[in-house]
């Protein structure tokens, strides 16, 4: 059996904690966040297509701008198509 002082202590702590309540907006905020998570899971695959890297010849260091712009040209077509689908 609990001592009287223990019961008192229990009541004191409980009353202190019960004075405050979770915010009313908590539920809506949670569901919004959860919906965002599930959307992220779904959208990421659609929005970001996996870029297809090809092995471009890089015989010299001066060729990297050409390689870079070729990669952008090729992948931008794919990105535009994906953007229209969304």
């Amino acid at each position: 059996m609990e001592k009287k002082s223990d019961i008192l202590l229990r009541n004191m702590i409980k009353n202190w904690v019960n004075r405050q309540r979770p915010p009313d907006s908590g539920r809506a905020r949670l569901l919004w966040g959860a919906a965002h998570i599930s959307n992220d899971k779904f959208d990421l695959a659609v929005i970001f297509p996996r870029p297809q890297f090809k092995s471009y010849p890089a015989s010299s260091a001066n060729e990297w701008p050409q390689t870079f712009f070729t990669w952008i040209n090729e992948n931008s077509i794919q990105l535009r198509i994906q953007a229209r689908i969304i």
């Binding site: 223990d6 202590l9 405050q20």
Partner: protein, 201 residues
Amino acid sequence: MSNCPEQTEAISDSELALSLQAGSLEALGVLYDRHRGLVFRTALAITGDAEAAADLLHDIFLRLYRFAAHIDPQRPLEPWLYRMTTNLSYTWVKRRQRWFRPLEDVADWLAGARKDTPAYQAEMDDSWRQVQQAVSSLPLAHRGVVVLYYVNDLSLQEISDILEIPVGTVKSRLHYGRQALKQSLGLLAGEMMPELQYEFT
């Protein structure tokens, strides 16, 4: 799933967990309504900060949704919620102690004169603040046990399972935590703060 409160009450946690695994936001809402008090109270008692408790409440249920696939629907959900709440509350307290406490000390030092103002004294006279300070001054490990025991009415065995510590450790932490609280709140010699006496009679 029905929106009728009577019908949602009849749905068990395990059924809701299964729905959650299928991505049901409605199941998440029902679980939140059912267990938010438990999580909020525990987080509030450990952190001593209502804003932090609200953020932890949000974070814990978001984690429940995100990691629903890893939860066994056949097992009760409450121990998982308790464990997650105590662990994240501990993390919050440790982080705060590391980063914000020194800043608070500097702020207190800069605003040293404020402690002499009547407003500050009135604030400090608040009986509930004394309870909060008494709980917050406990070592973190003792605080967790005390909160689970006194706020959530859990048994020693349940606390042992949740915190994954032996029952003997739970007993000793509870003993020291209880003694410290009684000393802080003036309950040891039968004396009691008059304001609190008024609240409980």
